[in-house]
Amino acid sequence: MILVQGKGVSTGVAIGPLYFYQRAKSTITRCEVADTDAEWNRFKEAQAKAIEQLGELAEKARKEAGDEAALLFETHQMMAEDMEYEEAIQTAIQDTKLNAEAAVTDTSVQFAEMFASMEDPYFQARAADVKDVSSRIIAALTGVIQGGINSPVPVILAADDLAPSETVQLDKAKILGFITEGGSGSSHTAILARTMGIPAIIGVGDQLKPEYEGKEVIIDGSTGNVTIDADEDAKAHLLKKMEEQKKMREMLEQLKGQPNETLDGQKIKVYCNIGGPDDVPAVLNNDAGGVGLFRSEFLYLNCDDFPSEDVQFDAYKKVLSDMGGKEVVIRTLDIGADKQIGYFNMPKEENPALGNRALRICLNRPEIFHTQLRALFRASAFGKLGIMFPMVTSVWEVKEAKKMCDRVREELTKEGIPFSEDVEIGIMIETPAAVLMSDRLAKEVDFFSCGTNDLTQYTLACDRQNADLGRFYNPHHPAVLRALKMVCDNAHKNGVWVGICGELGADLALTETFLSIGIDELSVSPRSVLPLRQKIRETDVSQVKEKVLADLLSDENAI
């Protein structure tokens, strides 16, 4: 058993023979050969192979489309063994001592020119037939396989990396999974694998040796493990995992179109977190009800200067229209702390997490905020928009931000630019101050969305990026959960809905808790939507609520 470690970029387990991608050489070599008889035999073998392939194609065509369709390939067969064509190649090899590849190429050019110079367009077009036949013989000579895979059974395909043009030509039915030497999570191979729903592992470097070709290999896209000639235990383990994943996928697939409703009839919305318009297909494909968090930072991070109002408008509009009327909550600029952007020219801070970040930057530099709000309201005409302000600690901040919204609405009205009157305004709840003031904040907004990553960090005064603080950073801490309950209670008293858009939302160990305290919406990554839906549909809130609420206050949980 040989183990190779790479980086998994598309999940799933697959088993099959390892196959190295056969790359076509773009140029053929031209050289003088000493043993012309051997070279002539090389040609005869390649010619026979080409004729055999054409015979197979003719039979396939005959079965699928009849004798007429088969005739094209039969004609190609005759061209391949045409006496004059063969004689010209023989002369090139025997007399000029050319290697077979060059001899076929030269003869192909010569015959193609003969056809091309004929008057009749029909005969001119036959030049293509000569070239086609010749390239088939050259492919047989150089051992290149059309489509990159020459295997009767599906394979695990290994390559250094694949170019877009190569991935297009791959025979997809022959691929069980990918392994690449290089590549990145956004390489074409990775994207193709995720689209096809098969596992892919990248970055194995030179660990895959050519002599492994044909050996049985098992790849696990969730761990990045490549197991070659697995022993029985390892194989049994991985096959079991593959079977479980298959069952899971089938089961999740059936959950599409089902409501996010508990056994006792309590409903909760399941939305998605996205980083840009490219993520929308995944949202819809996983049957999410909307977008609960669209991080607008990507627009700023992908630029060398502040993105213009129109650039932003296009991106927001695209997401809103692609979501087809489903709600989209866009968070206004949230940079600072761990997300820095050069052109903002922010001075270095001692405590960036407690510094000039998110809404604070927007209120300190209203011109940046103004541009974004204009783009947002303009886009609101194309769907159901919610605008959300991050990093709120005080009621006055929300009032000031809303005043800016009013100003933008007035401007757009004056300019005759359409926008929606039904844009919901909400805030992130991610500071202890916002939790404690949630009864007052609720009077200013339509919704709350709890950013549990920062809420945990600020509530526990614990840096989430400091590896030494692992056991101190506990998102299940009762302080965090009590905070969420307090926010829910204050929100509901004021008719405001509450969501969770942090990573905690997808934590199935807490789904019962969230349902019990009355969270209205969970916003998670697209692939978490269906597992979460399954968990919700298995939960009976009436059975667990009392215990969950008691646990928040119990002595043994007061860790």
Binding site: M78, D120, R126
Partner: protein
Amino acid sequence: MKSFEYTITDPVGIHARPAGILVKEIKKYSSTVTVIKGEKSVNALKLIALMGMGIKQGDTVKVTIEGADEEAAAAEIEAFFKANL
């Protein structure tokens, strides 16, 4: 040696499809079949050369058949020309 003359009626002339079938037909016999148009002549087994003559509708060609089985071959091939070309 046997021979016949034939004027091509097929709108495309001696193109790939009938030329291909013709080569198949001729291979059944041991006789040598030659297609002659004006000064040019080709061995009809040479598919590419035969097509390369660019024989069009209205062209008259002479076909010669020479060999042990020329009697049978000539009748068969003339019938083929009439049916397909």
